[in-house]
């Protein structure tokens, strides 16, 4: 009982912190200088219709590189911790006919949708991370439908390494050919609103999508065991 009392006191104190923060911040009715610069100059400078993509890939590309590295480290840690485990789990029942057939039908469509999402990251809501997660969800469905199936881990690691390598390489290309590291303007900006436009953003987001997708499939494969 004393424990619950302490916990409730703690939560009340946390709520007071938030209450004070909320009371002392005035509601915003206009953007600050940096945001309005990104919004006003983004379409002209970067050529991307989705301004969140312009911030993520072009203006703050370095953050995104760090994010990809964090995800890579987590995937490596998962792989390291899950190797050489003694197998003591009972065998699960085979999946039903509906799940297996549905998974076979849906897997290509899900991969196509994921590819669409990361290729159109500069035009529509979406991008490399979202597309990669959609692709991994297709493989999760396949793992649920056929627990005995194996994926080719070497090919997966090859895709992951190659896309990460080309991501950093395109960053270096921006350093040499354009304004700085991960500057996406080393390719021509093209006509606004078309698929091949906005400099290197579709290229960079494709590398990120492939890398995130293969990393998440690797994490799922490790968590599946065997």
């Amino acid at each position: 009982m004393a424990k619950y009392f302490v916990i409730i006191i703690l939560l009340i104190l946390l709520f007071l912190i938030f209450w004070n923060l909320q009371k002392n911040t005035a509601p915003r009715n206009r953007l600050d200088l940096l945001s309005s610069r990104y919004i006003d100059q983004g379409p002209r400078e970067v050529g991307s219709a989705n301004l969140v993509t312009a911030v993520v890939v072009a203006y703050r590309g370095f953050d995104t590189l760090g994010e990809v590295i964090v995800l890579f480290l987590a995937a490596t840690g998962v792989g390291f911790l899950m190797q050489k485990r003694q197998k003591a789990y009972p065998k699960s029942n085979p999946a039903s006919e509906i799940l297996r057939t549905g998974s076979d039908v849906l897997l290509p469509v899900i991969i196509l949708t994921g590819t669409y999402i990361f290729l159109h990251g500069h035009l529509t809501p979406g991008g490399g991370f979202q597309g990669g997660v959609v692709i991994a969800s297709g493989f999760l469905l396949q793992f649920l439908a056929r627990p005995e199936s194996r994926i080719k881990v070497r090919k997966l690691h090859f895709i992951e390494s190659i896309s990460g390598f080309f991501y950093v390489l395109s960053g270096l290309a921006g350093l040499i050919l354009a304004g700085g590291f991960l500057d996406s303007r080393f390719l021509p900006l093209g006509k606004w609103g078309e698929l091949i436009s906005a400099g290197a953003i579709p290229l960079i987001y494709s590398f990120i999508g492939l890398k995130v997708g293969s990393e998440l499939v690797g994490i799922l494969n490790n968590l599946k065991g065997d």
């Binding site: 703690l10 911030v55 993520v56 995800l71 480290l73 968590l223």
Partner: protein, 117 residues
């Protein structure tokens, strides 16, 4: 959108409650993900301005006075980062839970004697 910030903070408190009172490690991890979602709601809410739309250009919009029509894109970009990192941390925590289960054959933290003194 003050209500949305309160909703996010209610999720944070709920997640803390789950993490502090539950005994099962998987439920503690679920509590962590609830805190995560609450924080994402709060950060996205920081960039919201009333009556504006998502910062995605469409045909027919006039470049020049866009900063009067769009919400702040920076919190959205930061939340994108935070979601991916939350996913990575959750995956690592789940793997630790699997390893602990293999070692101890239980997920109840009261049964782990090493943590007591």
């Amino acid at each position: 959108m003050r209500e949305m910030a309160f909703l996010g903070f209610a999720l944070v408190l709920l997640g803390f409650w789950a993490m502090l009172t539950r005994k099962n490690i998987l439920r503690i991890i679920i509590g962590f993900t609830i805190i995560d979602s609450g924080i994402h709601l709060i950060i996205v809410n920081l960039g919201y301005l009333p009556g504006r739309t998502a910062p995605i250009l469409e045909k027919g919009m006039r470049v020049g006075d866009l900063s009067k029509h769009f919400v702040d894109p920076i919190p959205s970009a930061l939340v994108l980062t935070a979601i991916v990192i939350g996913l990575a941390v959750t995956a690592l925590m789940l793997v630790y839970a699997v390893r602990i289960y293999e070692r101890k054959r239980t997920l109840n933290i009261d049964k782990y004697r090493e943590l007591k003194w």
